[in-house]
Amino acid sequence: MSETGIASLRAGLQSAGISDGTPMRYSAFRLFAEALRGHRGWRPAWRDPEPQAEYDTLVIGGGGHGLATAHYLASRYGAQRVAVLEKGWIGGGNVGRNTTIVRSNYLLDGNEPFYEYSLKLWEGLEQDLNYNAMFSQRGILNLYHSDSQRDAYIRRGNAMKLHGADAALVGAEGVRAMYPWLNFDNARFPIQGGLLQRRAGTARHDAVAWGYARAADRRGVDILQNCEVTGLQIEGGRITGVDTARGPIRARKVGVAVAGSSSRVMAMAGLRLPVESHVLQAFVTEGLKPLIDGVVTFGAGHFYVSQSDKGGLVFGGDIDGYNSYAQRGNLPVVEDVIEGGMAIMPAIGRARLLRMWGGVMDMSMDGSPIIDRTPVEGLYFNGGWCYGGFKATPASGMAFAHLLATDEPHPTATAFRLDRFRRGFPIDEKGAGAQPNLH
């Protein structure tokens, strides 16, 4: 390369923020420039700092929600001296083992504004984080198979539109136009149509955790991996800090965002929760050329599916149904889910299941989450996400950051209270009642 070429490259690198001391921005130009110099310039996506003795705010849980909380605390609420405490490696919980669906097709007033707010945050996420989480608005189609299901979807679609979300009802022919190879002619429960939310979609789940981690780190948040919390320090009804595998850390406020392990962590504060831990399995096939453009859910069985950018069919269904902290499930649910798949998509019979795994869900008593203060002053709780936590990541982080920063619920999350069960305000989308494994 000529002298002038090198000089102009240097100038370009500088303008892209590539010089020691300033945060590194990702861009196509940066990628190009790094390719030319053998990628030697990439720096760690986040630091691995030593824990400090004291922070203003601790977020327990380095999953999507915890990292998002830290990012928004730092970027929107001006918080300083924030740390995220992670038991293992960040993004290792449910954000790293879900089926990546993002949607806001909820029915109830307590939920829909929150999820629609989340969807709007998703729509600007990559620019906000300077990280491509591959959020792709490919649409979600909820199939219906009976008149009463259709009526329920009309009610839901209208609720969505009243809250400013998008929704459309598609008849059987419309479904056929979108997915001509679905089982229209030999189905036990014939497809009558579907509720379509076009703005829904999928994202690259790991990248969400990494993007938030990197963005939070850039604003000074300490991300402390391998830092399991072993105790909560509570004095006179007020939290003062935590004990960790890397020593005690003092803090004024502590937010807990450890869905899947909520009961275990909150038990350290002597609190029982309206939550059970259950295993939800998820599945991916070998990579295939594009077949399924958006997300499709089966209305007469437990099955939903999308296709990843790598080509794998990513699908799931119901939870196994028994309490579990083991990140694995059993064959009956595998069969149940795939039977559902073969019922509406007999064309996937020769695709091969590559991998199945399980995540531990905080299943709440009404199927909806909790973002609230607790009886312990300075201790805040975020959990009960059931198997809908991934799509909620941005709004959950924002709402939890809002609560931690202001002591007030975020306007879109006012219904997610701990006392709603005692007071009779459940947010029960399925109408299944206070039985966690039915949600």
Partner: protein, 986 residues
């Protein structure tokens, strides 16, 4: 042409020739061949393209761990993408196509990605494609999606059948190599119930691939003898072509048997594959080991394969891999390949051994280069030469069209990890071996446990089985095992050759040493981060050959030991499984069972249209000639009920027989309204709450005797309510004398509804039963006989609001009773009606069904709040009184009537005030059920309306934003018809 069939040897049937095609070209092979062995024997090296860079790919392995030689097998609706050529059993007429290339395997335009490789490093996509935001879905992602994926599905329904089944054993032996065969022989001779499963179509494992002897036999011959002995035992089930895919809780193993994959198509009625769930007390994992490569620049060329695989091709399939073969190894085992090839007359040109003190295998004509490494390769679409650097640092080229590589072996520990188990690093073997926390009942033997010698495997298998026998109370026989090689593992860990080029770790996903280094540089250092960031190990082979070298390199970079670095978690299935196999017969129309009503065949003969109600099929309406729209039929049926008499099969309602001294007390506790004082011979409407106070179900319950009730449930909730009642009976009040049994299927129950229903019934009910209003008033019930003595039950209940009955007879007589009623009522204009008319009639009467009882509503919402008794402790009563459920502005069931009878009113519409903007803040409720009322000649509906009780007479809008409907409605009582109930009492 590189590879060729050797003149003799191999476990193939040379007497028979099998024709097959690859990419349209005709080839031949023999029974016993795989697609890979037959192609190699035909001189074909190029079989596929890699995922990302579209690099040419050949065969790396000889087994199910193959990452590279993936093809689409078969064609049309039977096309099977991503099939490993290395395990595809050859059959006559086999058709295979290469994939992930365009336009042709040898000329792939997407190979341009290889030139762009400097930009396409690990995680490059996270750093770009962000501007402008809308371009992601529109521009960038479609390109990525089209380029990604490997093979394609046909888009047609899978035409084959799949079975599922269940097996039980004392001992499951997984793998039929030396350890597995030895274990099965020991356990089988000892009398245990044994299942021996192996993924290969020929049992024997490595014994079929090696040249050494067992006793005075060849290894393959000894294996064949062992298999023959086992096959003769009644207590042993041999399952070749069966992969054990996962170890699940409590001794359950999933296994996939490929029943017909070695045939052109499955025989009629037979499955392609069977999913077995094997329940066993004990399992012995004897799954062998997988060889791993050594990474060096351009180590991915067709012609470069694992040493053990090359040996297998030579020994088992009599395939010479090339004309000039070189070896690159770091262990003694790899040297066997040189010896075996030389013995078969294949020219071995060089043995490059990374160990400075490597023993000389003494191959005539081969250069022995201890302490040397391979630094690169060259050749278009296949290997021509390799570059070697000697211990002294001298670099030169060697001509070679085949290179065997061995970096050592990894025990196949996968199944030991399916339940939290973590393998542990063994420095002596330089491999992960099973940890201590095995699934309950599992033992590991042979190479899977790190016992690599044949002698060791035979003895370990026997010992493991003997232990199982003793635990089960059998007496093991003394070992009767042949002499076998007992070579120690002699290996120096060596993972990659340092250098500038790209050195592949994950051959399918194109992950190189550089990518791992980049992951480290960017702090993706935990093994899970590395895997997810680079996609290493996430290809169809799940990193069976790639994972250990990669984490060894990460360990180098972080300065940690491999033991500290750890490994990612192995998850089921062991190898990928067709989705159809998991579904079995439960697909298409057989997805779920179908329940038919007792009058189904009669209704079918009448030309009824059916609809699903849960698992039931129910007559929806009965079209008559000339009726062109369903509404015509439904209107006619509804009006016929109101004016005359109609018949509807209501057998689908759940029926629960409740008997016992405490039956009344029990019913009184599970319904929120009073039942204790219900007189014998009477029916009452009951509301059942969940314990959280929301409505669970409703129905009528009849008291047939002091100690005998019959409860009906809604069709949808029959199973749920029965479960709930058993919970209450067994768990809450175990001291009550009450007994439950379902009788849903035992009775054919027919609603006879309309002003002429009594007249009609009198014609079939035996004359001694008085049906007069005085003798059998509204809400009466009783045992009767019909048609000359047939036992029956009669209930005077009404869903339509008309004078009505439900008559029940033993199910087998339902069909005949329906015919009789139709016959006897001909002069009354008797009309069968379906669930559509049933729905119209109940909406007109204001009765709730599933649309109103959706699990989110309360008795109060239905306007039935006063039914919740506060004088007794019934399920749900306490929590039904929570603050949030007692709001004055809460929802209330109302009727709606369209102001303009020509307008449309859809269930699901939301209610808004006139002039109010369509936003959530103005949402007043929603329409639960809607219909055209032929009786009122207007669209009507039931709806939940905020503060509804106080809004009767108001005009609101029912808005459906999905269809643009905006309909003015008047709020009215939900009882459109006969609010005083005079008709049903008449």
């Amino acid at each position: 042409m590189s590879g060729a069939r050797l003149a003799s040897g191999g476990q193939i049937d040379r007497a028979r020739r099998l024709e097959f095609r690859f990419d349209g070209r005709a080839f031949t092979g023999h029974p016993g061949d795989t697609l890979a062995s037959a192609l190699l024997a035909s001189g074909v090296r190029l079989m596929g393209r890699s995922f990302k860079y579209h690099r040419p790919r050949g065969v790396l392995t000889a087994g199910s761990e193959e990452p590279s030689a993936l093809v689409t097998l078969r064609s049309g609706a039977r096309a099977e993408p991503n099939t490993r050529a290395t395990v595809a059993e050859l059959f006559d007429g086999l058709e295979a196509t290469s994939q992930n290339r365009w336009p042709a395997l040898a000329f792939d335009a997407m190979a341009v990605n290889d030139w762009l490789a400097p930009f396409l490093t690990a995680g490059f996509y996270y750093k770009t494609f962000m501007w402008p935001a809308s371009f992601w879905e529109k521009v960038y992602e479609p390109i990525i999606r089209r380029a990604a994926g490997l093979g394609a599905l046909s888009g047609h329904d899978d035409p084959d059948d799949y079975d599922k089944g269940f097996l039980h054993a004392d001992l499951l032996v997984i793998g039929a190599g030396p350890a597995g065969l030895s274990a099965a022989l020991c356990a089988g001779r000892g009398g245990a119930r044994v299942i021996l499963a192996d993924e290969d179509f020929r049992m024997g494992g490595r014994l079929n691939a090696e040249s050494f002897a067992l006793g005075d036999q060849g290894g393959a011959d000894w294996a064949a003898g062992a298999v023959a002995e086992l096959a003769a035992m009644d207590n042993v089930r041999l399952m070749p072509r069966t992969t054990v895919i996962g170890a699940f809780d409590h001794g359950i193993y999933g296994a996939v048997e490929r029943v017909a994959d070695h045939l052109p198509i499955p025989p009629e009625g037979k499955p392609r594959q069977t999913l077995w769930r094997i329940t066993t007390s004990r399992a012995i994992l004897a799954a062998g080991a997988t060889e791993r490569p050594i990474a060096f620049a351009d180590n991915d060329r067709p012609g470069i394969m694992l040493a053990g695989a090359m040996r297998a091709y030579a020994n088992r399939w009599a395939v010479s891999p090339g004309k000039r073969v070189a070896l690159f190894v770091n262990n003694d085992d790899g040297l066997r390949t040189a010896r075996d090839l030389a013995a078969q007359g294949v020219r071995v040109s060089a043995v490059i051994d990374a160990r400075a003190d490597a023993p000389d295998p003494g191959i005539g004509g081969a250069r022995h280069l201890p302490g040397a490494v391979v630094t690169g390769s060259a050749g278009r679409l296949g290997l021509d030469t390799i570059t070697v650097r000697t211990a002294q640092g001298r670099e030169f080229r060697i001509d070679a069209d085949a290179l065997a590589v061995s970096g050592g072996w990894n025990p196949n520990v996968h199944l030991t990890c399916h339940q939290r188990g973590r393998p542990v690093w063994d420095d002596a073997l330089a491999a992960f071996v099973p940890g201590a926390d095995l699934p309950a009942g599992m033992a590991v033997a042979g190479a899977a446990a790190g016992t690599f010698s044949t002698h060791g495997a035979l003895h370990a298998g026997h010992a493991a089985a003997a232990e199982v026998l003793e635990a089960l109370g059998h007496t093991p026989t003394a070992p009767d095992l042949p002499q076998a090689e007992d070579a120690p593992v002699n290996l120096r860990p060596f993972w990659h050759v340092a250098g500038k080029g790209r050195a592949w770790l994950d051959f399918q996903n194109d992950v190189t040493v550089k990518d791992v280094k980049l992951a480290h540089q960017e702090n993706f250092r935990s093994v899970e981060h590395m895997k997810r960031y680079t996609t290493l190990g996430m290809a169809t082979d799940q990193g069976k050959t790639a994972n250990v070298p990669a984490l060894a390199i990460m360990a180098e970079l972080t300065g940690k030991t491999i033991a500290e670095t750890g490994t990612t978690i192995f998850r089921p299935p062991y190898t990928p499984v067709a989705l159809g196999t998991f579904a079995g017969r439960s697909r298409g129309r057989d997805f779920k069972p179908t329940r038919l009503t007792p009058t189904h065949h009669w209704a079918e003969a009448q030309g009824a249209v059916f609809t699903e109600a849960g698992l039931w099929l129910r007559a929806q309406y009965f079209p008559r000639p000339g009726e062109t729209h369903w509404r015509e039929s439904v209107d006619r049926e509804s009006l016929a009920v109101r004016a005359g008499v109609g018949l509807c099969d209501v057998s689908t309602l759940g029926k629960i027989d409740i008997q016992g001294a405490d039956a009344a007390e029990f019913v009184n506790r599970v319904y929120c309204n009073g039942f204790a004082k219900l007189p014998v011979g009477r029916v009452r409407y009951g509301l059942m709450l969940r314990e959280d106070g929301f409505l669970m179900d409703d129905g009528t319950t009849a008291r047939l005797a002091e100690d005998h009730f019959v409860m009906t449930t809604t069709t949808a909730n029959a199973v749920l309510v029965f479960r709930h009642l058993e919970f209450a009976r067994q768990c809450l009040w175990p001291g009550l004398d009450v007994h439950l049994i379902s009788t849903t299927d035992a009775w054919a129950q027919i609603a006879v509804a309309g002003p002429k229903s009594r007249v009609l019934l009198q014609r079939v009910v035996d004359p001694e039963h008085d049906l007069s209003n005085a003798a059998f008033p509204f809400m009466a019930c009783g045992d009767i006989t019909v048609c000359g003595g047939l036992r029956a039950r009669l209930f005077r209940i009404s869903f339509s609001g008309e004078l009505a009955y439900e008559i029940a007879v033993p199910a087998r007589y339902g069909h005949a009773l329906m015919e009789r009623l139709m016959d006897k009522g001909a002069d009354l204009g008797v009309t069968p009606y379906g669930v559509e008319a049933l729905n119209v009639l109940r909406i007109e009467k204001g009765h709730a069904t599933a649309n109103e009882l959706n699990g989110q509503t309360t008795a109060r919402d239905l306007g039935l709040g006063r039914m919740v008794s506060d004088k007794k402790d019934s399920i749900g009563a306490v929590l039904s009184r929570r603050e949030g459920m007692m709001r004055e502005d809460g929802l209330r069931l109302v009727g709606l009537r369209a102001v303009n009878t020509g307008s449309r009113l859809a269930a699901g519409s939301h209610l808004l005030e006139r002039g109010a903007q369509a936003v959530a803040a103005n949402d007043l409720g929603w329409v639960t059920s809607a219909c055209w009322s032929p009786h009122l000649e207007a669209p009507i509906a039931l709806a939940f309306l905020k503060g509804g009780a106080g809004r009767l007479g108001e005009t609101l809008r029912a808005v459906n934003l999905l269809s643009g409907q905006d309909t003015e409605v008047t709020v009215v009582s939900p009882h459109f018809i006969d609010p005083e109930g005079e008709r049903q009492r008449g």
